[in-house]
Amino acid sequence: MDIALVSRDGKKITEPGGQDSPLAIRGLTVSYGEKPAVFSVDMTVEAGKMTAIIGPNGAGKSTLLKAALGVVPAVSGRVQVFGKPIARQRGRIAYVPQRASVDWDFPTRVIDVVLMGLYREVGLLGRLRGRHVKQAEACLDRVGMKDFAHRQIGQLSGGQQQRVFLARALAQGADLYVLDEPFAGVDAATEKAIIDVLKALRAEGKTVVVVHHDLATVAGYFDNVFLINTRKVAEGTVAEAFTADTLHDAYGGRLATAQIAQVAG
């Protein structure tokens, strides 16, 4: 059986329109030490939709995506991006890491961070030209940070830093956007700015995958959900997969029944 074409639940990875899934993960296992953080997970991201990856703390949400993108090594599993091995599709993926993963005292300005999104396009020896800077400024404008272009990144608030990371991803002009907890610890204005940009990306036909922790906003923000607790718990549209049953399976006793009833309506 060709596992690249049919997943375990029989759902076809190849979309009806012939377009391959932006991100198809098969049998992915990741382990820190000898305790698997993610165990044999299959995931098929639907093109042109916004998908939330949800699960309790330590469930492997971030790890799943990091391993899929090759940021951390996987023990086993395979990943295809738009139907091809990821190595040949790097230019089509934009990754927004967690804010805490970098040193914000690094000597760099906001605009320099966004220009990093253009490094692939510019190449090793190419010069960053005026049009690249304009492009980066346009991306900053989209996240409402244009006025901060020449600030040192350490002077920004947490939410502003997150928006700069998103601007860097936008600069790549990718087709698949993968964000790790973009709403963690940010102010309401930032949350709105980010979700507006993500929805605009979806309207352009891009695919967005977000590690998300706030169950209350899932239904308002996302089309699809992927529930994980080391193993895959549920996958599908919000209506199908974000139910009291699946939440109970994913979170166990960590969510009170009343809370589940509230968010899963």
Partner: protein, 400 residues
């Protein structure tokens, strides 16, 4: 004599050494910046100490083969091999055991250096003709440097700079945000390895001039010095190269003025002098600038507190507050507010109420975020917005 040295008038050999040192200093400063930004500065120390057994063994092998054992290229090759072995040990220790990198650095550094010292002692006791030159690798010795040696050093430095020109973007990306770099398809371990190879190259090339004990200073001090002056990585890299080059040039020139002055330590002292000056005087990150900023901030706090106390008719005891208010003409010597003082005090109190109202308003989050208890509200709101706020607070009790 000193002026002659600085102007390269002290003869052929001194000129050679000075120019070679400046090139090495620049290459080391630039390479070291990436290491510093990647927060792996101490790895350089382990690498440099790991060169010693290689130098000694290369000497022994060359003597055994019938040479006199002083060929610089031979000795440098030996040092490169043992530095590589040291680096490999360090990587293996951190990857396959639970040792953190700092512990691995300590282990490798001391073991390799100890082994090297033992080998050096063996060489001494062998009494092989010209071994005296080997001690120069510890602290640097430029006496008797040949033209070919200088060319070796210069070419090595240029090769390092060429590799950096190609690798600068991946190295910066990996230093700032390794996860993003990996997701972009940058091979992070390989970039790290390239960075280490550059450090090794600088170390090996610099052995003759500064010696293995002090080469880490050439890599790191210029980088931290440059960091004081710029908030942009590209500028930090270039400044670091300039600081490194200048310190090495001055150090080498000065050490050429007297017969027994060691080159390496004097270069390090010049480098440290540049560092101290930057630490004190740099705008923004320097110590003096920080003190001034703190003073200004303190004055603003006292001023604000003083005004609020005046507005509420409280007596002010804090001497600094009294001094500031009096100097601004807001308070008389007997502690009574002047007309101007009363007006500003009322305004301060009014602003407090406005801020409180503003911060209750969810929609005004961006403006509220600017609240620090010190600034006037007109710095974040327009006159119209302030009027709207006032309307919600109610009529002012006093005219503003």
């Amino acid at each position: 004599m000193l002026a002659q040295a600085l102007l390269l008038q002290l003869g052929y050999n001194a000129t050679l050494v000075t120019i070679g040192a400046a090139l090495l200093g620049a290459a080391a400063g630039i390479t070291g910046t990436f290491l510093f930004l990647r927060k792996r500065a101490l790895v350089a120390d382990a690498v440099s100490h790991a060169t010693l057994p290689g130098v000694a063994m290369a000497f022994l092998i060359m003597v055994a083969l019938g040479g006199e054992g002083r060929s610089l290229i031979g000795l440098l090759l030996g040092s490169a091999v043992s530095a590589m072995v040291g680096l490999w040990c360090m990587n293996a220790l951190t990857r396959h055991t639970r040792l953190a990198e700092d512990a691995a650095i300590g282990a490798v550094l001391s073991v390799f250096f100890g082994f090297g010292v033992v080998l050096m002692t063996v060489i001494q006791s062998l009494g092989v003709g010209r071994q005296a030159g080997l001690e120069g690798f510890l602290l640097g010795s430029t006496a008797g440097m040949l033209f070919a040696d200088a060319v070796t050093i210069a070419l090595g430095g240029l090769a390092v700079l060429a590799v950096i020109a190609v690798m600068r973007r991946p190295m910066l990306l990996v230093s700032f945000d390794p996860e993003y770099a990996a997701a972009q398809g940058v091979n992070v371990p390989r970039v790290d390895m390239a960075m280490m190879a550059l450090v090794m190259a600088v170390t090996v090339v610099g052995l003759k001039i500064v010696g293995l004990i002090l080469i880490v200073a050439l890599l790191i001090i210029p980088a931290v010095t440059a960091r004081f002056w710029s908030e942009r990585a590209g500028q930090v890299v270039i400044l670091s190269g300039a600081f490194g080059g200048v310190a090495a040039y001055l150090g080498a020139a000065v050490s050429a003025t007297a017969p027994n002055l060691p080159t390496g330590p004097i270069i390090v002292l010049f480098s440290a002098a540049l560092f101290l000056l930057s630490l004190l005087l740099a705008p923004g990150r320097g110590v003096l600038a920080a003190i001034l900023r703190h003073r200004r901030f303190q004055a603003r706090v006292h001023m604000r507190q003083g005004l609020l106390a005046l507005a509420q008719g409280q007596e002010i005891f804090e001497p600094l507050t009294r001094r500031l208010l009096r100097r601004a003409g807001l308070m008389r010597a007997d502690g009574v507010a002047t007309d101007d003082g009363r007006a500003q005090a009322a305004k301060a109190l009014r602003d407090e109420a406005r801020w409180a109202m503003l911060r209750r308003d969810q929609a005004q989050e961006a403006a509220s975020a600017q609240y620090d208890g010190l600034r006037g509200i007109e710095t974040v709101l327009t006159a119209d917005q302030i009027a709207a706020l006032d309307a919600r607070i109610g009529a002012p009790k006093e005219a503003i």
